[in-house]
Amino acid sequence: MTVHRRSVLKYVLALGAIAAWPRVLLAARPDAAFASEDADKAIADLFGQSPVDSDQVMMKIPDIAENGAVVPVTVTTKLENVESISVVVDNNPTPLAASFNMSPKSVPSVSVRIKMGQSSRVRALVKADGNLYSTSKEVKVTIGGCGG
């Protein structure tokens, strides 16, 4: 097998990049919140506060998800000083699906595709200016997406 210099360079560069992986981020992953089997506990664990429903948080997600393995979600907000955007699927085995941390340069808008094991309330949580806001939607799932 011919090893091209190009691919060797790519691997070396990649290894160098991984060595530079911001270690503080790995240490900061909220593992307990992700492992929680209860949605409210996961939220309490992640934020240490309860969310307040807000029409300043918008979530685009289908009313009916034909395929629970791939449910597209988009969360946007009009709030300022957004620190993070998270998605919680109440009836999933582990409700906390994803959490996105913003930077001062971020536009507070994220899209991701998630798995839903069954029909469930889905919540989008936005932490802004130290406060926690949320919006939710009941999503019907035709074919569950957690496997088995």
Binding site: Y11, A14, A17, I18, W21, P22, L25, L26, R29, P30, F34, A69, V70, V71, T74, V89, N92, P93, T94, L96, A97, A98, S99, F100, N101, M102, S103, K105, S106, V107, S109, V110, S111, V112, R113, I114, K115, M116, G145, C146, G147, G148
Partner: protein, 104 residues
């Protein structure tokens, strides 16, 4: 070494919109193999970092409920065509992948 990330990044005004597709099985650990009946081990991306010109603009923590071959989109300000965006992920087994792209 994980598979490379497909990145599409466009600038409109001074806002960059980044779309990334990350080939990854994202096994939740709850699925049973169709033939053996054994549980397929959990194997999913846990951390994602996005940098713009070397500065972190977004980090994400994921659980197994993110879909297979994750597609994610996010935006940030202060971007100019020609700037570099770098995205890297790490999964629960220690695999990782890092890809760079140029903002168009």
């Amino acid at each position: 070494m994980g598979k490379p990330i497909k990145i599409r990044a466009k600038v409109k005004g001074d806002v960059a919109e980044v779309k990334a597709l990350m080939p990854h099985d994202m096994e939740s650990g709850l699925r049973r193999d169709a033939e053996t009946g054994e549980l397929v081990a959990a194997h999913y991306i846990t951390d994602v970092v996005a940098e713009h010109n070397g500065e972190v603009v977004m980090t994400a923590y994921w659980g197994p409920a993110v879909s297979k071959n994750p597609y994610v989109s996010f935006s940030f300000k202060g971007a100019v065509a020609g700037d570099t965006i770098r995205i890297q992920w790490q999964d629960n087994k220690g695999d990782s992948s890092v890809t760079e792209a140029v903002l168009k």
